[in-house]
Amino acid sequence: MNEVNEQIAIDHGLKIDEYKKICDLLKRTPNITELGVFSAMWNEHCSYKSSRRHLKKLHTKGDQVIQGPGENAGVVDIEDDDAIVFKIESHNHPSFIEPYQGAATGVGGIMRDVFTMGARPIANLNSIHFGSIDHEKTRNLLRGVVKGIGGYGNCIGVPTIAGQTCFDESYNGNILVNAMTLGLVNKNKIFYSKAAGVDKPVIYVGSKTGRDGIHGASMASAIFDDKIEEKKPTVQVGDPFTEKLLLEACLELMGGKSIISIQDMGAAGLTSSSIEMASKGDLGIKIDLTKVPCREENMTPYEIMLSESQERMLIVLEAGKEDEAKKIFDKWNLDFAVIGKTTNSKNIELFFENKKVAEIPIDFLAENAPMYDRKWIKAKLPKENNFSKDDFKSLKLSDCLNKILTDPNIADKEWIWNQYDHTVMGDTIQKPGGNAGVVRVHGTNKAVAAAVDSSATYCHAHPLTGGKQVVCESWRNMISVGAKPIAITNCLNFGNPEKEKNMGEFVECVEGITEASKYLNYPVVSGNVSFYNETKDKGIKPTPSIGGIGLLSDYKKMVTMELKNDGNYLLIIGKTEGHLDQSIFAKNILSNHNGPPPEINLFNEKQNGMSILNLKNKNLIETCHDVSLGGILTAISKMSIKGNKGVKIFPIEGLVNKFEYFFGEDQGRYIIEIKPGNLENVEKILKKDSIHFDKLGIVESDKITYGNDLKISIGDIKEGYKKWLNEYMVN
């Protein structure tokens, strides 16, 4: 039984060449357990075989970086011995098949990555992308994903402080669920996955192993077809209660000195966790699978190794510390089993019922994993549209504004975040719905800001510019709350890398991300890649999600986006040229999907951001909001709605027509609110720093007005903006 041959290898997602390579390396045919282990380690999700050579180019260094990519999560310094551990990860494929469990276990997985390193999770975020609002599956997927994210995060008691929700028909067959977690750790007490020392006990803790999630990582490395419903059993089932216990138990154990290394069992479960620990420590590992706590009867070595049951950890302990550790896990009612030990063989050896069932040199699985230099094509910058006056002839500003504020990608998302506990832990000082979520560093004057961004439209139009833009957008969100941007994590969601166009999108987005993060000293410290977001030949738009974090050294100086007081001035920082191509306005009002995305000028980006931080430190800014999707008028509307205050907009100068001015999506811009008494001083500072700015308007009444062209009450625009999603979900 279970004779391995080429067909079985192909059924495991391996290519014929890869199977031949396995046989060559082993100098024999692998048995079924070994084949399973190879397929788990060599799939795209675990091996990064298409992306590795490009990811090496990412900018990952900086004085603030304690740990860059390659660990369970990235770690950055936030002064006074405090450090933030953070990472974003995709759970796209499972969430499409089973939205609740897919999203829930996505949240669970990313939290484990963070507390594995010794950090207590302090905030969750997410970026979720769905198909067109008219697609039959969208409502149910959205409902399920939101419930799943909430169901898991709420139970653990970690606040979900920010996120992003997008709709686009390119996600009709492949939704995206990217979950991010931030944890707080003392920088001298970080735990890593690298094993060290021979004959150290290998411990299994957490939930029992079941048959759920077998081949989850392989599923996430393949495109979808008509039979995706059959893949439901590959979706893991989450138990947040057990995760909460595991979190507390691990942190309790980490308070002592018994752990050498620790790794969560995520994708490819026991296989990848044991191999990664041994590989990093240049060791071998011996596991007796009979000792693994199992939930179901008669599980085979193959199933035990490939199960992706959730809420499990693998720990290498100091010898002799087993009893001390077991006591803690007993207290929390969690399974604890010594299942093996480290060796100096550099092989992974698996035993089951006193028989050796597999033996593979670890470097075959890790270093010798395939790496591809996939062919890719460079994208051309699309031609500009050059809209004529006639295109705008019949348009009214107020109609356009109302339509944009009820665009699914702009409208308020409170229906979503009201379902997430965003205040537990008592340190959330900026809730979802602002520029970024902000949580205090418990018991200190510091706070950490975090946001997730993506802009698939721009990345689709021109991947290089799009890649840069997402990083800048993230940077601006940090600046807007008054935080110094520190570092980012990226979740790279793309189509099929075996297609040259998709691979090109990936390569150029990564290039864009690298260029911007290097220039802004906003390094990438963690992340993951999700390829094969494709169904029946239709792939998603390239969607790198960037999770950024920033530091406020004094949380009392945090800036928010709601308008504050009548009589205050609004300035717009950065130049407005009226770039409409690829904007919400072009898509929604002009039904035009062509042209290049707005250009990114990294020099201006940095200057503008730094000048705002400078003004904030001098207490000269009352309010700040970056201008992004929907342009100036959309930004003003959001600020007005939040603050319940109107704005009189001053006449615009220059050549730009009013639609281009109000709805153009030129980059690197912010709207700031200034007290009249500070205006002169602010203007002086901005001029001295050579920052371009325009006087935009004055805060007054309960209407947004622009000469005779626009007079619209806050109540009216609020209605549509606030209600859209609610109404969509109940219909």
Binding site: N154, G157, P240, D421, V424, G426, D427, I429, R440, M558
Partner: protein, 226 residues
């Protein structure tokens, strides 16, 4: 003044409650669910969270845990017992408070600020609070209070309704009832008013930089009356 916060496996507002109690002058201690005895206390708090995963029914397994016997004895001897959110659910499961908490009417978890009206000030929890309406914060999936007609009558007759959901002016209408609770009930007492269970979290409203400060009024008053 000494207080004890009970930690059940799955509690997740225990730290927040500890911070709040300490901030307002209580000497608080954390007590593990598997302990037999509660240290000498003037106030026992059952915090929010998902005790035992809220499996079976919210609060039901916690209601049978080892420490609960001591909580019941303490309550029956007149000691102050406060249950917030999951703690409220646990108190109904132990029978210390009447009624039950069902899933929210619109079937979603709700996390937001709400207003509640204080219905009875003749007790240590609300005695000297100088306001009729408080802005507090809710975060729950099962806060839809329900009880039988007879129970409701007895609760009303005995002045056991502590707080009700309302608008900022104190109007208790259906529109301002976030979870469908009968009579907009957000919190109730036992007959003797030494036990209070409520869904809103005062411990999340103790700082102007958080959601608000009306939680501070609650704790300031409480320490003054213990």
């Amino acid at each position: 003044m000494k207080s004890s916060v009970i930690i059940f496996p799955g509690s997740n507002c225990d730290r927040d409650m500890n911070v709040a109690l300490n901030k307002f002058g209580f000497k608080n201690q954390m007590v593990w669910h598997n302990d037999a005895e509660i240290p000498k206390s003037d106030l026992i708090v059952l915090p929010g969270g998902f005790s035992y995963g809220d499996y079976l029914r919210c609060g039901s397994i916690a209601g049978k845990s080892r420490i609960i016997k001591s909580v019941v004895n303490f309550a029956n001897s007149g000691g102050l017992v406060l249950g917030i959110c999951n703690g409220f659910q646990i108190l109904t499961e132990t029978g210390l408070l009447p009624g039950i908490l069902q899933q929210n009417k619109y079937l979603n978890f709700i996390c937001k600020n709400v207003f509640v009206k204080i219905k009875n000030k003749e007790n240590k929890y609300f005695k000297n609070i100088n306001k009729e309406v408080l802005e507090l914060h809710i975060a729950h999936n099962e806060g839809n209070y329900f009880c039988s007609k007879d129970e409701l009558k007895s609760i009303e007759d005995n002045g056991q309704i502590a707080v009700t959901y309302c608008d900022d002016k104190g109007n208790e209408d259906e529109y301002n009832n976030p979870n469908g609770a009968i009579k907009n009930i957000a919190g109730i007492f036992n007959k003797d008013k030494n036990i209070l269970g409520m869904m809103p979290h005062p411990e999340r409203m103790i700082d102007p930089f958080l959601s608000g400060e009306d939680g501070s009024l609650f704790f300031e008053n409480l320490i003054g009356n213990v």
